[in-house]
Each structure stands twice: as structure tokens, then as C-alpha cells.
């Protein structure tokens, strides 16, 4: 499935949640903007990712939302500013 993951981590209370969640997301998805990740995952990878970040996310303070579609082609993407292909495998 093709995934866009966005989060908001409360930083008023000192913690390393933001850092932890960021690092975990980077293992599975491409970081495209502040607190926004994108990429294609298997269901098992998706479950793993959720399990890993759930350990750190605080239900009452943080927010994390995942948008997904079965396939990348059912999701339109448009750059209003300069287009950039961060998800390329040719680097």
C-alpha cells in the first residue's frame, strides 16, 4: 500500500519522542517534509512500523495520521513549488 504518514509531536514537555519516531519512520519511508513521510509498504512492514512507533507515541499528547491507498497510481501528487523526487531509487 502507498502511505503518507504525518505526525505532530508535543514538544512542550521535554522528551525524545519526536526524535525516536522520526528515526523509526526513516527506516520504512522517505522523509519528504518536516513530520511527513511517504512510500510504498507491504502490509507486514506497515504493521511493524505502527508497532514500533506506538511504543513512543503518547495518546494524549501526540498525533499521528496515516493516509494510504492500495496503489501509488490511485493517489495524485502535485508540486506547487519546485518538484523534487525524494522517493527515487536512483541516487
Amino acid at each position: 500500500m502507498y502511505i503518507i504518514l504525518v505526525y505532530d509531536i508535543n514538544t512542550e514537555q521535554k522528551s525524545n519522542v519526536a526524535n525516536r519516531v522520526f528515526k523509526i519512520c526513516k527506516k520504512y519511508l522517505v522523509h519528504i517534509q518536516n513530520s511527513v513521510f511517504e512510500g510504498e509498504l507491504n502490509e507486514s512492514q506497515f504493521i511493524n512500523l505502527k508497532n514500533e512507533i506506538k511504543k513512543y507515541l503518547r495518546k494524549d499528547l501526540d498525533s499521528c495520521i496515516v493516509f494510504y491507498s492500495r496503489n501509488e497510481k490511485w493517489l495524485n501528487k502535485e508540486f506547487i513549488t519546485e518538484p523534487k523526487d525524494d522517493t527515487s531509487c536512483f541516487l
Binding site: N42, E43, S44, I47, N48, N51
Partner: protein
């Protein structure tokens, strides 16, 4: 020959899988369905599990109040799980631990099954162990099962290509 709990389970499930696995032709990790099962399994019962090992023969999910607990994620293949637990009880009995019960929990379907090892069960296990030994000595792997369960098995491609 060392026979593990998993081998007893496979014997009841699919003798071909038992043979291939013993010959280290492993396919786990290759099937997405198996992977999903594994991650759900790992994450759902994390807090409950206190794995208990009998040498390198058995990996018991946890042991509490004289009861061996085995957690299964579905009640589809209970028969093989029952044999597996009976084998654990058998191993414990061999090591002098008597009056141990077994319990299989299937939290997702809220099922709980008690397993006992009586004389008949002991005979059953011993027959099964002899059979396993025989199968593992076959030169060729046993035939494919051609059953409904094959479709979700990690060995599907290897068996049916």
C-alpha cells in the same frame, strides 16, 4: 535424533514441510502472509510471553500454575497445536515434571482448549516421534499436500512450481 515441538507441529500439518525444514530448505520470511502472521503474533502477546525452553527442543510460550500455555493466532490448525502441546507435556514428564496441564489460547476467537497427556496420548506421541524419524530419513521429500492450506503457506511456490 532431536525432535522439536515445531517438528511435531509440522508433522501434523504437512509432512513435506517437515522434511524440507529439517533439510534446511527454509522458506519462512518469503511469504507476505506468513510475515503478517508473524508480526501480529509478536506484537499481540508481547506482555504475556515469558518463553520457557526445554533444552533446544521446545520453546514454550509461558508456564504458569503448573500449566503450559501455547498461544495461537487462529483456530484453523488446532490439531497440530494440540499435538505440539502434548509433546511439551511429554518432554516435561520425561524430565520428572508430572501433573502438568496444557492450555491453548486463541485470543482472537476467545477460545481456550485444555490439553492433557494420558496414556493414550503418550502412545500417540511416541508413534508420532517414530514416524517423524522415518520421514526425515526419506531420500525425497513427501508429496505436496494439495490442500487448501497450501495457498497461504510460505512453501507454496517451491511446492507447486
Amino acid at each position: 535424533m532431536k525432535i522439536t515441538g515445531l517438528m511435531v507441529n509440522y508433522y501434523c500439518l504437512c509432512q513435506r514441510k517437515l522434511w524440507l525444514c529439517f533439510h534446511k530448505i527454509n522458506m519462512e520470511n518469503e511469504s507476505e502472509l506468513v510475515n503478517i502472521g508473524k508480526v501480529i503474533d509478536e506484537s499481540t502477546y508481547e506482555d504475556e510471553k515469558h518463553n520457557f525452553f526445554i533444552e533446544d527442543l521446545a520453546n514454550i510460550d509461558y508456564l504458569k500454575n503448573n500449566t503450559v500455555y501455547e498461544i495461537k493466532k487462529s483456530d484453523k490448525m488446532l490439531e497440530s497445536a494440540i499435538m505440539q502441546v502434548k509433546y511439551y507435556l511429554y518432554l516435561l514428564k520425561e524430565r520428572g515434571l508430572k501433573n502438568i496441564k496444557g492450555k491453548i489460547n486463541v485470543p482472537l476467537s476467545k477460545k481456550s482448549i485444555d490439553v492433557f497427556l494420558d496414556d493414550e496420548g503418550i502412545q500417540e506421541i511416541e508413534k508420532c516421534l517414530a514416524e517423524i524419524e522415518k520421514i526425515l530419513n526419506y531420500k525425497l521429500p513427501p508429496q505436496t499436500l494439495e490442500s487448501k492450506i497450501c495457498k497461504s503457506c510460505a512453501y507454496y511456490e517451491l511446492c507447486f512450481i
